[in-house]
């Protein structure tokens, strides 16, 4: 039983026009329950497109996506996944608590149930005292934690994240990575995570999916063998550096095909 299945998916924008872009060609991906998978690759490799296809925000040109054995469209209607973006995207006019309640409100939950769940989620992201503040009164890292709480409020089995920590400073970012692992461990959530950072992908993931542009496709899959318990020591472990090197070489490989010796654009090496 897989949490997510992508079979032979292609996405072509502006098909049949001079502006045709082959965003994704024949992508296959299976993600197991509770697995953490990162998508990494240079700009234009289609990793955000793939995430949006899984979320049913885009329709594939060919192929099929299934989430929890349902079609992507049905999974979206059932709120089987939560989503978090680079910008926390909290609503300024809602309190922190009301922001977390948003997906539950749309699902038609009653008020007491919503408030109880929002409280539970605030405990999970360790910000219980901020329930009645407004998002613009919080720091960027706190806002992103609230966004994660909102994405998980309906207890979806799958979490889709599009560079959620891209706008944070390095210290906050590493803290958030630890928090994300803790939260997903406690809730047994499956995660598909888009990132530009090689160490971030390695630290978080069970598998790193390396993608390449023109046309967008998966070029290699790297298993990260760091065990399930990860902490700050993990960042100094040999296996951590070995995996980073493996991902970096896989990314170089994707780049060599395009016969340019420059550094890979859009991928951070830190």
């Amino acid at each position: 039983m897989s949490a997510l299945e992508v079979v032979g998916v292609s996405k072509i924008f502006n098909q049949g026009t001079p502006k045709q872009v082959d965003a994704l060609v024949d992508v296959n991906l299976t993600v197991n329950p509770s697995e953490f998978v990162s998508l990494i690759g240079p700009s234009g490799c289609g990793k955000s497109t793939l995430l949006r296809l899984i979320a049913n925000l885009l329709e594939p040109t060919s192929g099929a996506v299934s989430v929890n054995k349902k079609t992507a469209a049905q999974a979206r209607l059932d709120q089987d996944y939560g989503m978090a973006f680079q910008q926390a995207g909290l609503f300024d006019w809602r309190t922190v608590s009301k922001n977390i309640e948003l997906p539950l409100e749309l699902k038609g939950w009653d008020k007491t149930k919503r408030e109880a769940r929002a409280k539970e989620m605030l405990e999970l992201v360790k910000l219980p005292e901020f329930a009645d503040l407004y998002p613009w009164q919080l720091s960027g890292g706190m806002q992103q934690r609230i966004a994660i709480a909102r994405a998980l409020a309906a207890h979806p089995p799958l979490l889709l994240m599009d560079e959620p920590f891209g706008a944070l400073d390095e210290m906050t970012r590493e803290y958030m990575q630890g928090e994300l692992l803790r939260i997903c461990g406690e809730t047994a959530t499956t995660v598909v995570f888009v990132t530009h950072s090689i160490p971030e992908a390695v630290y978080l993931s069970n598998r790193v999916i390396v993608m390449s542009p023109r046309p967008g496709r998966i070029t290699s899959v790297i298993d990260v063998d760091l065990g399930s318990k990860r902490n700050e020591d993990t960042r100094a472990a040999d296996g951590f550096f070995r995996s980073i090197t493996a991902v970096r070489e896989a990314l170089r490989g994707t780049h060599a095909e395009h016969a340019s010796a420059n550094a890979i654009r859009g991928v951070e090496d830190r």
């Binding site: 979206r76 709120q79 996944y81 910008q87 995207g89 609503f91 300024d92 006019w93 749309l106 407004y134």
Partner: protein
Amino acid sequence: MLMRRIAYRSSMFVVAIASVVALWEFYKIVGPQDGGKLFGVSILPRANNTAMPHVWTMLSRYNRPEVRGSDTKIWSVVLSGTLFSLRLSLAGFFLGTTIGVGLAVLMSRFKVVQRGLLPYLVMSQTVPLIALAPLVVSWGGKLQIGSFEWPRWLSASILGTFLAFFPIAVGTLRGLASAPVAAVELMDSYAASWKQILFKLRFPAAVPFMVPAFKLGASGAVVGVVVAEISTGLKGGIGRLIIEYAREATGDPAKVFTAVFGAAALGITMSGIVALSDVLLMRNRPKETSA
């Protein structure tokens, strides 16, 4: 915090009024009694008591009868005229808000409607109100829809609506479109309906655009109503009082000013009502000064 802001604003208001009074009286002292000419063109206003009565003359006029020998003091006449026009302006404003917001929702929902309608809305505002007023007022007493007979005052309100709806429609339209793409995508990921997106995302996101639009709409409603009253002589309102009193300007120059101040008070009251909505709607929004 809020109290301090209100106190600051009201003290600034008093200072502004006092400066205008001081400027007026100062000009009466230094200005030429019979006007001044610059390069052969009369450009400086006359400073004599007929053209520019003293501030205290104008104020004390309020406490004298409207017409010689009458018992009614002029302040009560001006007050009831102002209230009459205020009711008309409010009706025009609310009708304009309904139409403006309705059109904005329609235009944001259907791009075809926006492309087809917006140019006509812009054009509608180039029609001079004075030209339109007699036409709309002539509906009074002639138009009958079912058992509803078109009252004359409604025509004046409609002209207020005509000026009020446009800034509200345009401001609301911009506001509805101001919701970030990422936020719309988030709502889509929750499979939110069009109505849910409208009420939970687009309208709240539009508030900072709608409040200034309401301010423009409110002053538009006042201008529309007063111009309609003046150009058609509708009885009961402040516009009518202004033209009536203006005829007596040579004999009783302070009289027309009592009505003019009534019209100004009307405008201030309307913007005050909107400013209150501003304070209420924006109280939990990020303050611009913090940036």
